[in-house]
Symmetry: D2
Subunit: 436 residues, 4 copies
């Protein structure tokens, strides 16, 4: 392969909302300052290597549909390196400084673990070189779900040998993430869950998972890796029930096993809705538990029950996502990883660019709308006023935990029927929509 991977596609530029150019940003202007911070520093966009460069378009009912010109049909180390060059050309053209990967996406699995590690080292060395001084991994992770050995899970497999194999893979993936300057390391519990409780010892599996995480924390400290460890909640798929169901479930796990403080959460919008929550709910739950670490920027289909991993193009949802990020004071050292894939039927090379552009523009538009809401202030004020009775002395007593039931009963008897004002939901929705 010689020359460009994406010939004819220029570096993508900001042209403003009136541009008709499909290959230009209409809303994302990297250097523009919003609420005191550059857009690129709010967003910290990252390209997901697996979807963008390993996605084949296959689904449970059909085979691959993507036959990118640079692919030679092999899973060789040479092909892995060529693909890595395509990745960096793409990052440079789209103007994104972070990328995310699984170990097995970027390099082939060998006949033995040792061989796999060697292949990985070889490709990682190239990636290090191509990164230069500007680009680095938002995070790395180990792929513990494709290979049949992981069919019962990795850290929660019923087989000890699989647990050990997974541990070895995580060790290596953490090493290379550290070597590449990755800012986080993610645990996505690919098959950590169950298909039926009838054949599962859930308690024992969860205990194993906790041991696994404790070992990972110890190793992180030992090698001096400073990145944040992240758990990515998902309710189901591929298993009937994944252990990291949602943000609250993951938080309960971390608290139960003494892992709080060592992990944050990587919230994915599509996983949020599959678990019965809005994306905004999951972000806020993570945030108020002090666990908002990263966002997998995608969306699902409201009518389907599986993980569609679509590029987010809904501006309302994007605005709510950005409201959480603003309240969180930003998302660094996390960012927005495009854990999103082209639709199976999108088969032009330019579709890769179009999808990322509309995804970036949507979140940028969300940031602009959220900032408008914050600056305009009416919605914030509506919420503040709803709770102002608690800003009183007795309110403070309650919030300090000093109001016992007898005291409160005395007040209730004294005060008579309490006033209960309107919640003004439709007004709140009006104010929200006005900012879009």
């Amino acid at each position: 392969w010689k020359g460009e991977f994406f010939p004819g596609i220029p570096k993508i530029k900001y042209e403003g909302p009136n541009s008709k150019n499909h290959l230009a940003f209409k809303w994302y202007n990297a250097e523009e300052v919003i609420l005191g911070k550059k857009m690129k520093d709010w967003m910290r966009f990252s390209v997901a290597f697996w979807h963008t460069f390993r996605g084949t378009g296959g689904d449970p009912f059909g085979g691959p549909t993507k036959f990118w010109p640079w692919e030679d049909g092999t899973n060789s180390v040479a092909m892995a390196k060529r693909r890595m060059r395509a990745n960096f050309e793409f990052l440079n053209k789209i103007g994104v400084d972070y990328w995310c990967f699984h170990d097995r996406d970027i390099a082939p699995e060998g006949d033995t673990l040792k061989e796999s590690n060697e292949y990985l080292d070889e490709v990682v060395a190239l990636a290090k070189e191509l990164q230069g001084s500007k680009i680095k991994p938002l995070w790395g992770t180990a792929q513990l779900f494709v290979q049949p050995r992981y069919m019962h899970g990795a850290a929660t497999s019923s087989e000890l040998g699989v647990y050990a194999y997974a541990a070895a893979q995580v060790k290596k993936a953490m090493d290379v993430t550290n070597y590449l300057g990755g800012e986080n390391y993610v645990f996505w519990g690919g098959r950590e869950g169950y298909q039926t409780l009838l054949n599962t010892d859930m308690e024992r599996e969860l205990n194993h998972l906790a041991s696994f995480f404790h070992s990972a924390v110890a190793y992180k400290k030992k090698i001096g890796f400073n990145g944040t460890l992240l758990i990515e909640p998902k309710p189901q798929e591929p298993t009937k029930h994944q252990y990291d169901w949602d943000a609250a479930t993951a938080a309960n796990f971390l608290r139960k096993y003494g892992l709080l403080g060592e992990f944050k959460l990587n919230i994915e919008c599509n996983h949020a809705t599959l678990s019965g929550h809005s994306c905004h709910h999951e972000l806020e739950t993570a945030r108020i538990n002090g666990l908002l670490g990263n966002i997998d920027a995608n969306t699902g289909d409201p009518q389907v029950g599986w993980d569609t991993d679509q590029f987010l193009t809904d501006i309302s949802e994007a605005t709510m996502v950005m409201l959480s990020v603003i309240r969180n004071g930003g998302i660094a050292p996390g960012g927005f990883n495009f854990d999103a894939k082209l639709r199976r039927e999108s088969t032009d090379v330019e579709d890769i660019f179009i999808a990322h552009i509309v995804g970036m523009d949507t979140l940028a538009r969300g940031l602009r709308s959220a900032a408008k809401l914050v600056e305009e202030g009416s919605l914030t004020e509506l919420v503040r006023k709803r709770y102002e009775s608690f800003d009183s002395e007795i309110g403070k007593k309650i919030e300090a935990g000093d109001a016992d039931l007898e005291f409160l009963e005395k007040k209730a008897l004294e005060w008579g029927e309490p006033k209960v004002p309107s919640a003004k939901q439709e007004l709140a929705e009006m104010l929200f929509q006005s900012a879009l």
Copy 2:
């Protein structure tokens, strides 16, 4: 009102599986011993006063359909007392020793809190007398969701006055539960949740909820109430999102706010499925978190998205529920409360009996099937064998938290590709079904 409330309906007896008598038990034989314990001690059935005596058949699209002969159309104290007599006749005829109530179900709300408390005392005095030595509350609770003052929640209301009013109501409800010899006290967060995050300060509301629970714990200790405090998870309805979404969410809340050890969970099957879990999953999650306290015995409709509170009649689900109870060593001091209502269209007095009989029989049949599974042992053995690689020395090292990533990597390199046996799901399903 004179004489019997349920004339012509005899005390319900056990007649065995071949009986065609609608007013007899076919599977529930109270004194029969199963796995070393009498059926009645495994089940600890309880009648829910609100559904059975205050259910009107109304729904969002229509008014009441039940016009029981003993009702006079008023909400007076006299009517409340008459209804209480009907309750005890029913308990005696159906052969159930426990009942559950909300404060406002059993006595009318007065013009003031003081008056409400007086009405409650009057009805509770009668209930105490009617209980005799054999019957008592499985649990009591305060109804904090019907009255419009609670439209924004009770402990999570945006209004301080409502918080205080709710506290006063809980204090009184706990007093009367204690007085009646109740074995537990339940918090069902009727409207603790939100309709939209746009107008909600979720973090502040959750902090208030925690303060509220801490005050309740302090009061319980002060008055020497020995019952268990229970939280009842529910994902949604009436609000879009209830704070006690599921067992894991409630556990996270208890851990975060230092309330673990003071509360257990009351798991309801219909709430489980609304949150995207099987009932069995929620029971097991509660159990392995040490939080399985009580079961609200009902079921939902797998195709509808709201709380139907049907009597459980599915023997597979009942068997799975009883498997969890057996693993838990029983459910005492909790029990099975029939938080289930007659269908709107079931309007005969005998339907009240038929519904409870089939509900009790179903769980009793579930106990028999679960006991058969446990005694036969094949399914237990299948599960044990799946994990036996962890019974080794290295398995013990992992489970003790002593296996670091380097050690595990060394083993993985040494062992080569791990063996991964079949999970035998279809065999597990065959064994399960054979016990039904």
Copy 3:
């Protein structure tokens, strides 16, 4: 009651997108011409009497929360008339020319059917007078679901007496709709469905429903009522399964029973999503079956499984709705009926206005965006091009039904592997979003 019902609230005016006035339109400008038609003629907005004037805020877990100042707590004819005056003041102030009603919303039920009819006549006479020359019903209907006699359905009740009663009610409701100049008449199958198939003869019930509709068609013709008859699909609630599940199910029913041509459909967005379809899908299904008659303008909550009947505030969904309406050449003689209710917690009189304003503005904004899409043309062109191979001679042969399998096989063998271009979904989403 004297003077205004909504004192202090002026006639709502269009002030444009930059207005901060909650009581002004930002997007709906009634007289403005869009794609050759006035906005008011595209929209044909209607106020739903039941939600706006009879909604109490009650839900399955709680009682009324709305205590409008003009309500006196009775269900008298006098109160009905006062309420009707409030309705017309509201219509005038909000600037809407249509209203919709059920018989029993606008007048109380009497002790007998005869009495009910007399009450209805009395209130309808007043409504006629208040309508003046400008206002009329978009549609009327009979309420056949609240009263307990309808608990098993109306036309599908298992009781013949109920079927007859429902027929009498429909006859009268059609009479008064005709008298008031209503442009349509709706059948919403309130409880036409089942709770369980175990006790239901579905085939017989559907046959009864068809007989009922045939009688209604005959009566319509007999009295010379020129309005369109509409069926409103809904998948479930209050029953487990409603017979008019979705647009395709209703169309199948109409075809099977020879009723096609006599009915159109009233599509409700919230019902669409409860049936597993997008609102856009249901509108398009109705449209291409020649059945798009009216739109119930509301929305549901994507995470909840019951009918929330919220005011639509999402601009993407509104744009898709309006795309269907534009393709349909408008919606007359139907319109957009706000089958939407204030949230239970919205209790200020002004909330009634705010909710309708944001609902009207959202659809108006949707119209503007849809018109922009249509005028700009790129999305239309993308779709046209996808199918252009069928514009060929052989394509025409296929579409005419003249291409047999042998001919097609011959071509397939001759042509070899067909080309399959990208579906450009992300580009379509980019173009769509650009219009918002």
Copy 4:
């Protein structure tokens, strides 16, 4: 490959409910007569070649897990023939007389359509021989969804060349089904649907689908194929929205395009629940539309939103399925095809047998329970009595379509308030459960 494919596995025999032998039937006794018909004639079981012999265990998150000893890793014609021999050994050992196939499951795709047809002929000749006089296809079909050419659909593809290719494939598949003595031919609209309406001309696609079906009907008649044509409804997956959503949607399509009478439906339980209906509902809907043609015997997971295609092991659901079949007077010339696959984690050869045995036993147990219900008669009588008011003279008038609204109003006024008896749902559930 020499000798047996399933060595050590004997012909599966009936041993009765107390057998502990995993490789024996406990409930399915082929020659036993139930309600006047042999069990095997009620069931007409069929093995699905694709799941049983081509299922790899792959899913969207992982690769194959099944490595059956007879597979050599190639997709050659030789391998196809060897696999076909395994199929017939399996059919003989499990005691099933029907099998189902897609063209591309049983023979590899060649470089050209001509070559593919030749491969197919070669394998089909062997199948014909192996069938002998006892075994034949329940149905055949063309696989129009795996190959990337079908990514936009087959008959509804936006590309004319794909439409022609699909037509050619159907022609050939119908030829071979006819040659093998198949009793039905199925159309499963693999990718007939859309991913987004934004890029789709739904009306034009549906018109093409109708043309395609008309051509298929004409060809069937031309070649004298006497089997039933079947459409298999499915709501979604792989597309966001499949055109054959459910039984009612398919019926509407058949009626609209003049295809009624030419097609029946193949109802799949898992597809039923994905469309928001119970399996029983879909079967009854098909039955009362005269369209119940075949059953794909599987089940889904009530908590997951994709097609899990599990073997049905729930005895309640099986009993309801068999109630519909009994009411239908049997299912011939259709049958029960096991469109069900081993769980990904079930990797022992014996699991193939265990899964089919439990699936067959479950439906056989359902038949026994349903027959018990029918013979005992209480439930039937409960339903009959509910509707008996319509057995009156006026009821007959209504059912004949001779009761106009005026007549019914007269009766309603005369009769006064109708009686509305209890629907006895809990009793119906008690009676149902007693039969299990």
